[in-house]
Symmetry: C3
Subunit: 307 residues, 3 copies
């Protein structure tokens, strides 16, 4: 292929950037960088589990330097991405206004980053209970360390707990980038908007979906393939989906939900200490202290002719 | 352990390369490099979503240089991998023939790479509709950008749409390497041979399987855990599986398939605008404008004694 | 934000390292490095599939240098991580004892690494059969190479087979780090403790869970979303879960288990050559040569009003 041909293909592709402009971001807005957000998330996890992830030679004499230095660096990185996230909400200010808009984004980003950092100790408290819940809940767990190093739920929940705080601070785009990073690694899809109590354990995890408006109490335990989802979407008079209503279920404290169960709907409440059996499909509420299982589905057992 | 021991272990392992030679590739053939194919796929995605992935400072003055330069580089890289893929089909030519065989592979690879590049604008057109379908279909989506950055279906579908074109061009090995890269990141397993129409949306996605001979119309929406699979495999007279028949279902335009549904068989057709409910198990066709749901499975609700 | 503020946040976070110390590893123990274990696993896979993964220019003249060199390097790296894993079992020896404890860990680690390396040829023999089983079992497979390069089960099973040997050698932490690395990439969660026979094939794979005490015979084939799990956990008199009992099913040779089936319980045995249909939920044993399918669940088929 000669240069003329590459030139022609390049021109055609650039032309398509104009004609299919909804997925083109040229001279429009600057967004947070996904790869940068992932890097920040990984470094934050090192701060949450000191001595386990990242540097392993920490001692009480050096830890404050380590933490101070990392926080300082992460402050710069994260506040920059948050500033871009706020900046992306620009509604087309005139040029002189745009400059002061960006300044205000940067200032707000610094405040929000500081606020977020101040929550890390509280997040660690919750994670300590989550890790303990995994140990108490899984007979295959040999030690607390095995859980911190290997259990996908520790990755998914620690990233969710950080993303949720940023979601509450109304940072655009970044919280979802963070939870989708965890989703890709674990198969556990927790929307950053979900509200989840203490001592939360997800075993195995692949295929779990926890929707945006879920509310989950303390000491809840769920297994792989569980969906806490929406039943149907109300639409406005123009047939457009209405955003922002409670569409996902409430799971009260002490509930266990076994593998493959599906619980749908914003008005569905699973009462305290109830148990939802594997593969159960629920679109209505269940009182506290109840066990719901599928009627042993009738099976047909026949001789296997092909063998 | 001393050197003698390492030497002995190395000899034994090399010996096993001879005795279990079906999984040994020494002095046999050169294959495309999986890591190289993944790198190329990632860079192609930057061309599909300019300004979102990769460089974020594009403007209309520099974009053609950026695109021209990247296409030029990718042309070299991709045509090399495609040449190796064609070369791997060698059927043991004699040495002098083998040289001219490799030359013909390289020439064909250049032509196929150019053809593939010329399809990128068309692929972008389809992706624009896919992204819009995600926005219209998910009330949790806050913006088009959130979808491009975070939704696993955008990764899975954009990689599939490229891999499908290479599959149609009968490039060996590379299309499947591409879709399995997306499968690893998203849990969405789309075979590059599947045929999928416009405005396709997969929500959440983990556990979705779309088989090689599926045909999917426009405006189809599916949820996590949906399998579009094969019912059983016809075998030839020697008991070997017959490859290449239509084994997977046809999903007509406007169909929605909810989480966990399984639809099997090459003769199974889900008619236009029909809805398949969650967890439905279907091995036969459904007419258009139909809704299929499982009979609310009988549940046993009992007091939870353990609480 | 000024330095004072960062300093304050750092102090608070370090303070939380003391107050939530169950997830703090400062001046406690050294553990294997997860990222190092993943790197070693990837390089071991290059030795298992020579010429396919990693270097592609191997010939019979250079392969022994390649293998000897890699084994030598990996010996250093792996024995170091294994030594740390043994060292992490320290029960608080006094300082002089601790030094000799670490020495004994290092010696034992060398012996175990050597033993593990000597098993690689046997592991390759099993993998050759696994790859062949995938080719024989999937009509979409175009070649042996496509399977080695692209099939998630090859990654999951090859990592499992190595991790299982280390598990049998009672190396702490590392086996599970290895299988969770494969789980993250494939969605296939095989506990390193499971016992799996020859010619094992998992198609698609996302969502598969194979528990710690499973026993699986030869020529077993399973599909995506299959769970081989525990029914319930026996607890001791203090209400703590009892670890180490057989909690997961036995799958005899020649069994096929279709997508989404769930088989639970340590006493559940699926007899030789039986077939378990998609979505079947089983908590009791099935005799040999039997086919179990769900009674076609009653479906409600209605006109789709919304269309």
């Amino acid at each position: 292929m000669n240069r003329i041909s590459i030139g022609k293909l390049a021109k055609e592709l650039v032309q398509s950037y104009r004609s299919t402009e909804r997925i083109t971001n040229i001279e429009k807005r600057q967004f947070p960088s996904r790869s940068q957000v992932i890097k920040i998330t990984e470094e934050l996890r090192e701060l949450l589990f000191p001595g386990y992830l990242g540097r392993t030679d920490l001692c009480w004499n050096n830890v404050e330097y380590f933490v101070g230095n990392k926080l300082d660096r992460l402050f710069t990185l994260l506040s920059e991405e948050i500033a871009k996230a706020f900046g992306s909400l620009s509604v087309g200010e005139a040029e002189e206004e745009f400059h002061s808009f960006l300044c205000s984004c940067r200032e707000r980003a610094c405040r929000e980053t500081e606020l977020f950092f101040s929550k890390l100790p509280k997040i660690r408290e919750m994670l300590e209970d989550d890790v303990q819940a995994a140990y108490d809940g899984d007979p295959a767990a040999k030690s607390i360390e095995e859980i911190i190093f290997s259990y996908p739920c520790v990755l998914a929940i620690s990233v969710y707990r950080m993303a949720h705080e940023l979601f509450l601070q109304e940072i655009p785009l970044i919280p979802r980038m963070m939870t989708e990073y965890a989703h890709a690694l674990t198969g556990i899809d927790i929307h950053p908007g979900a509200r989840i109590g203490r001592s939360f354990f997800i075993d195995h995890g692949t295929g779990v979906v926890i929707g945006e408006t879920c509310e989950i109490g303390d000491n809840v335990k769920i297994y792989q393939g569980v969906t806490l989802g929406a039943l149907s979407f109300p639409k406005d008079e123009r047939g457009k989906i209405i955003r922002g209503t409670k569409r996902h279920p409430t799971i009260e404290s002490g509930v266990t939900i076994y593998a493959g169960a599906t619980i749908l709907g914003g008005n569905t409440v699973i009462g305290k200490n109830s148990v939802v059996g594997g593969n159960v499909w629920l679109t209505h509420s269940i009182p506290p202290n109840t066990k719901v299982i599928i009627e042993e589905p009738r099976l047909r057992i026949v001789e296997n002719k092909s063998s």
